[in-house]
Symmetry: C2
Subunit: 336 residues, 2 copies
Amino acid sequence: MLFISVGLVACKQTNKSKDSHPFDIATLDDILLPSWNEGSNKEAIIDFVTKTTTKGSAEFIPVADRIACFDNDGTLWSEQPMYFQLAFAIDRVKALAKDHPEWKAKEPFRSLLEGDMQKVLSGGEPALLQLVAASHAGVSTDEFNQNVAHWMKTAKHPTTGKAYYKMVYQPMIELLDYLQANDFKTFVVSGGGVDFMRVWAEKAYHIPSYQIIGSSLKTKYEVGADGIPKLIKLPELNFNDDNTGKPVGIHQHIGKRPVLAFGNSDGDYEMLQWTTTAKGYPRLGLILHHTDAESEWAYDRKSAVGKLDRALNDADKNGWLVVDMKNDWNKIYPRQ
Amino acid sequence: MLFISVGLVACKQTNKSKDSHPFDIATLDDILLPSWNEGSNKEAIIDFVTKTTTKGSAEFIPVADRIACFDNDGTLWSEQPMYFQLAFAIDRVKALAKDHPEWKAKEPFRSLLEGDMQKVLSGGEPALLQLVAASHAGVSTDEFNQNVAHWMKTAKHPTTGKAYYKMVYQPMIELLDYLQANDFKTFVVSGGGVDFMRVWAEKAYHIPSYQIIGSSLKTKYEVGADGIPKLIKLPELNFNDDNTGKPVGIHQHIGKRPVLAFGNSDGDYEMLQWTTTAKGYPRLGLILHHTDAESEWAYDRKSAVGKLDRALNDADKNGWLVVDMKNDWNKIYPRQ
């Protein structure tokens, strides 16, 4: 009889793990989120997950409503000295320049090809949109995916020398895994391009392509003479998934209000606000504060990339937790 | 020893069911898709699912790529004598008419309030868009959801007398369940409004809100004086998820090409084409042909709603299976 019992108990635990915790949190506390230092922020995260996933808890959230949204640039991976997608756009423009002799006389291409990024960036959003159009449009979605995949394999970050996709944050990967193991659906909600992200983010974050939301260009469906259809990326903005665009994108794509949101800049303000002012369930809003000049970068209110000012001012008032990268984390990037 | 083995075998099967079939198809064949009659279409569906989910099969599809897309109106539920969402719009306009005395003198509202639907529909798309704007816009997303939920609870279909949400097709629910049990992610890809569908479709089809794709109005993020944000639905089309819009919507939302698509009208042509011309994996395209005048409706080439002409002509050439509602199904709606 003992043997039967052992067999049945093993089966029971297998089934149970699908409904609640994958392991006993009380006894295995010390291995949760290992790259997070002990402290009030780590405690608040574990407390939130525990109370919202414990059956019978007054704050229990049914699986179908466990929606957690994460900004990407500066929240799940680094974003300095410029958004990585901009580095891709620049490399792509350089690669295409031989077919575009006219770029030598045309801004912002001219400055870019001469290596004067300061001047390129001084052109503001219109200059950036021209670079995006030249590097992201006029190709099919399949070709674009191949371009991104090739760049990801070959390009290296200028200061760390790492492949860009290796500059994801280890503590955030652990947090995503922890939430996923507790039946939260994790979404990326980024101002970055959705096509750019999906090529690598599905594997990097263990998040399916359809849980990645971002900005996009319009696309056009075309059927060639061979009967084979393509989607062509057009040089026209379809959706800007930033600021108030984030709650709009969350509604369009998910159709439910998240119970957890994690960002790092003022562009995430409305996503945090939309999440934490919703009624019913407990909600958790978090901001990653870049404070580690030694292992990553330290920046906030005055940064051209990832400016964090208004959201930092209002964090306390709104009950958002500010995660201090230097103090709350003991590791930045995954081991090679 | 026998007892241990029994225990372990039971465990093994539990684990195995997550990776491949939930049960042994060879021996339990007769309980699969019970509302589908035996025949080449049912056989083709089961064959497709079996070969694409059997490890070691040359045609195996990894779980992450098992994307199946279904049209809604006329594919998952009925659409006669008019799209059910239009019935909602009409009822909503009637309910709002007391606050809009000017509608008595303004088309298409005047004809609608006088019960002359023929004249309303003769106004074509512009008239319909006016009705959609009046019934779907100018409210917050939360209010809209409540309006739809209330209508679903109270409104009855004019000829069947059923609540509209009970006019989903039992054989299609079985097919969705069968695919879901085999780790396919099932998506709704509808020309209908995504906000309208999400209120009831999540429960009706066992499909999470973020796997429902549809047409939408633009929304605006507004924060009230009380600090509470709302998303307001604007009377302006954001996205038309029909015809070439379906592959565009699938790309925007899912970012992968489906391996299975199921539609019933020419509006699904491009979704089927986009699905079945993709390379790599096996693909399956299906068209539901409404042939059962007794238990549902019989219509195709000349119907104002759910016109099926071009896709029917090209079905053979494109390798799409035509499901004959009268011959392939033995049941239409779920039991009350």
